[in-house]
Symmetry: C2
Subunit: 214 residues, 2 copies
């Protein structure tokens, strides 16, 4: 039974016909608009224009502007997660860090997505923003995953065990975010070489003297 009557989740009516296509077009348009004007400054009319619809047309596929926001965030975040899973992330240690560099390299050719996330997380630091909880959970999740990968490096004896990996994970994520800001503000800035320097420093630091027993 490859495709029953499909009690699916998409918008309405047609299972996966043209409906899903315009939904995707709206989310692409919203990515562009939010990247330039943020959530608060990005109007549904602008999104509709980019998707070649009218503003009520957009609200046929999403109940409200806030639903468009959350859908864009979840969709675009899934792409990053997929990217990580494609590398040998679960080996942990240095291998995992190298996978992270790959993610930075992919971001370096996806300016629109990066700018959207940077613009929205800037708004999202305020508890009054509808995406605040999303970002709180996103960073908690990313830190958790990164801590585990680093601890796998400790368990394998690859990294010294007297370092709090929670701090290292937080620093690595911070560097990624901060380098994105500088990259977006100045095209000449390049992210991957700078992030690679951090990884070099980090590997050197973590490979240092295993805590002399006794």
């Amino acid at each position: 039974m490859p495709r029953p009557s499909a009690p699916s989740t998409p918008p309405r009516a047609s299972a996966t016909g043209r409906g899903a296509r315009t939904r995707a077009a709206i989310l692409e348009a919203a990515t562009r608009v939010f990247a330039v004007h943020g959530y608060r400054g990005g109007s549904l009319a602008a999104i509709a224009g980019e998707a070649e619809l009218t503003q009520p047309g957009v609200l046929h596929h999403f109940p409200s502007k806030e639903h468009v926001l959350m859908a864009v965030l979840q969709e675009r975040d899934r792409e990053n997660v997929k990217q990580l899973r494609s590398g040998p992330w679960h080996d942990g240690g240095v291998t995992a860090l190298r996978t992270l560099l790959g993610l930075v390299e992919d971001n370096a050719i996806a300016r629109e997505r990066v700018q959207m996330f940077t613009a929205l997380v800037g708004e999202g630091v305020s508890a009054a923003h509808p995406a605040h909880d999303f970002f709180v959970e996103r960073y908690a999740h990313l830190r958790y995953q990164l801590i585990r990968a680093l601890q796998r490096g400790q368990d394998a004896g690859e990294f010294r065990s007297d370092v709090d990996m929670a701090m290292i994970a937080s620093l690595v994520l911070a560097a990624m975010d901060g380098l994105q800001i500088q990259w977006l503000l100045d095209d000449e800035e390049t992210m991957p070489p700078r992030f690679a320097v951090l990884l070099d420093m980090l590997v050197t630091y973590l490979a240092a003297e295993p805590p002399a027993p006794g």
Copy 2:
């Protein structure tokens, strides 16, 4: 002649009377409002309310909302610069890095100002934002100052000379920004210890083998 007729710059009429005071009140109110709602989402009416004025009252002191934005950014940025100049920043090298840690510690008790900057830089990555140029120049200036401080460490033989200090400077600024984001999103995160770990790593890395001559 301690205080002439004072051909000052403040708004209008009274030299430094109550006029300058309400101007300062407006900028304080704008800091709070922009921190919570950003520039686009923060209305002049909200700023006026916090400053205990009406909305046209605000526009008597500033020609437009955009002027309020630029005034807030310049005023609050000056505070940071003053903070740096109070430390032995110009000695360069490790001393300068320790001064940076002091700045992070001061930021850790100035959540409102930090949140305002994070929210506004998020909006400012877009070229369409009125503060875009301000942030481009701000980061260029900060990087320049930091590069010079690090190079002074190289000249003094404190740091190895085979490392591109432009990359290090960019990374240090990135870590500061990124740690601020995580701190704002999760009160449990603390910035200074994490930033101190980066500085430890950095000092270890930069103190390593001076490029073996020959």
